[in-house]
């Protein structure tokens, strides 16, 4: 099954293996990263406020969602990101995906990214599932030939209900089916880096198990995995290295077990 999407000549058999070669250039290099947000959403600004209350009616109070974050991730590593709500996990993931831009520091990513973020974002309600697969995969940079090559695989993975509804408008799909299709399309992208944002919690148990198996298969082909999750089980299953974020600061960067221990201790201490 794994050879369907292997693009890497030298699959690391031991997925627990840390970087195969420590002198390698890191695939993800984050240095002194920081991003500042407004406390209130600026979109709620209105022209009326701007005209009658000076330049801007919104309070200009800001906070740093992430600050002074530095780490390197090498090819083939599986890193889990741990932290409470609002600690900046998703923000960090989005910056690595390139869909948010840092206000300080830099993120350097070598090679493409398959983002398992907002899985169903690219789908259009009015088109059929078939059209949607082509369009979304195309948006993520997959060529038409490659989509055709993998089309059956995508549909098989998404399940028999999706296959039955291939020519049905996408809006008639159940939310579970939508997510399955999204997962199937994105994991088919042959990118060296896979970013996962809590999407493993979706679908029924059978599908979840299927997702796990595919993620493991991806790791076996030497892909780099960056995972955000609240599930200790998922984190332990996939990641060997952990990053612990707390209020936008990187608290700990070390083996997953140590990071989880520190996180749990912090939670217990705080309550």
């Amino acid at each position: 099954m794994a050879d369907h999407w292997s693009g890497v000549p030298d699959p690391a058999d031991d997925r627990a293996g840390a970087p195969q070669d420590a002198t390698d250039k890191p695939v993800i290099s984050v240095s002194d990263l920081g991003i500042e947000f407004y406390r209130s959403r600026r979109r709620q600004l209105s022209l009326r406020e701007m005209i009658f209350h000076g330049r801007s009616g919104a309070p200009v109070e800001t906070f740093w969602a992430l600050r002074d974050i530095s780490f390197d991730i090498h090819k083939g590593e599986a890193v889990g990101l741990v932290g409470g709500n609002g600690s900046g996990k998703s923000t960090l993931l989005k910056m690595i995906a390139g869909v948010l831009l840092p206000d300080a520091g830099s993120v350097e990513v070598t090679g493409g990214v398959a983002p398992l973020i907002e899985l169903t974002g690219g789908f259009v309600n009015d088109l059929t599932a078939r059209d949607n697969i082509y369009l979304t995969a195309g948006l993520h940079g997959l060529s038409k030939d490659r989509i055709e090559e993998h089309f059956d695989e995508i549909v098989d993975f998404a399940g028999p209900e999706v296959r039955a509804g291939l020519d049905m408008p996408y809006r008639h799909f159940s939310s579970g089916m939508k997510v399955r299709l999204g997962f199937a399309v994105i994991t088919t992208l042959d990118e060296p880096i896979v970013l996962v944002d809590e999407v493993l919690a979706v679908g029924d148990r059978a599908f979840r198990e299927k997702c796990y198996r595919r993620m493991e298969a991806l790791l076996e082909t030497g892909k780099t995995l960056f995972l955000v999750s609240h599930s200790e089980g998922d984190l332990k299953r996939f990641s060997t290295r952990g990053l612990f974020l707390k209020r936008g600061l990187l608290q700990l960067d070390g083996p997953m077990d140590d990071v989880l221990a520190a996180y749990n201790e912090d939670l217990d201490g705080g309550s």
């Binding site: 991003i35 947000f37 407004y38 959403r41 600026r42 979109r43 709620q44 600004l45 209105s46 022209l47 009326r48 701007m50 989005k94 995906a97 390139g98 869909v99 948010l100 831009l101 206000d103 990214v113 983002p115 973020i117 907002e118 899985l119 169903t120 974002g121 690219g122 259009v124 009015d126 088109l127 059209d131 369009l135 195309g138 948006l139 993520h140 940079g141 060529s143």
Partner: protein, 269 residues
């Protein structure tokens, strides 16, 4: 230079832009059998209404080139591309927020894609224009001339202006939501300030120079140059030259504003 870097990144992802344009057109035409008819019905009916109002009620069929109906049709088709694009680009980033948040594409893609798909619709509506042109040619009311070569130039200048304006408007509306309404009102006013239903030559000097600042003035002048006789309204070369300059100015301004606001927009959507 910023503009060159950006457009290079954009052409590198040309396939994605094409995918999006195809998606837009497919959504538009898959939704209803009348899909194509809708795109041409609006300018056709509006041309008809203005024709009736000006020719039969005001008795002023002489405010534009003859045949006046053809004059209106060119103007309204081109105006529809202009106003439709501006209305859509003003919500381009908000409407596709989910996609913008989940795909790492040069963000200009979302603007250029709207301009292009509306542009394709404009091109697809050309058969209607050709149909009426053929009728008027057969009747001997219309005569083509060599300035027809300016028509495609007009299309290019309109494209460049729209990309510039779209890049200017899209991030601003993402940050200040009621800009969308302002744009709708401004567009309606601009419609009458643009020589769509009258010839630009009729604007008394020195005010005609002000209307030249609106790139659509020169663009329409170019599109109409080869289709009509210029005995009553000679081609206004000043407007044409100004529109070319304005389109480049708008493109530079749009790129600058877009790059400045991109960071903030990504945080807000």
């Amino acid at each position: 230079m910023e503009l060159i870097d950006r457009s290079r990144a954009l052409t590198a992802r040309g396939g994605v832009v094409r995918t999006l344009v195809v998606r837009d057109l497919r959504v538009r035409y898959a939704q209803s059998v009348l899909g194509y008819v809708w795109t041409i019905l609006d300018p056709l009916l509006m041309s008809l209404i203005y024709f009736v109002v000006f020719v039969y009620i005001f008795h002023r069929g002489d405010v534009g080139h003859r045949p006046y109906f053809l004059f209106l049709l060119v103007g309204l088709l081109s105006w529809q591309w202009f106003s439709g694009t501006l209305t859509d680009t003003s919500r381009a980033l908000i409407q596709e927020a989910k996609l913008v948040r989940s795909t790492n594409l040069p963000r200009e893609v979302w603007v250029v894609r709207v301009v292009l798909s509306k542009g394709v619709e404009f091109v697809l509506s050309m058969p209607v224009l050709l149909f009426f042109l053929a009728i008027y040619l057969a009747k001997g009311d219309a005569r083509l001339n060599g300035w027809l070569v300016l028509f495609p130039v007009g299309v290019v200048v309109e494209f460049v202006s729209l990309v510039g304006l779209g890049l200017l408007v899209a991030p601003v509306t993402a940050l200040v939501s009621d800009t969308q309404r302002v744009i709708r009102i401004l567009l309606r006013m601009l419609f009458y300030a643009t020589p769509v239903i009258y010839a630009g030559k009729l604007v008394p000097p020195p005010y005609d120079k002000i209307t030249w600042l609106n790139p659509m003035t020169g663009i329409l002048e170019m599109m109409r140059a080869g289709l009509f006789r210029h005995d009553r309204f000679p081609i206004v070369w000043g407007a044409i030259a100004t529109s070319v300059v304005m389109s480049v100015v708008l493109l530079l301004l749009g790129t600058t504003v877009f790059t400045r606001l991109e960071r903030a927009v990504l945080k807000e959507i």
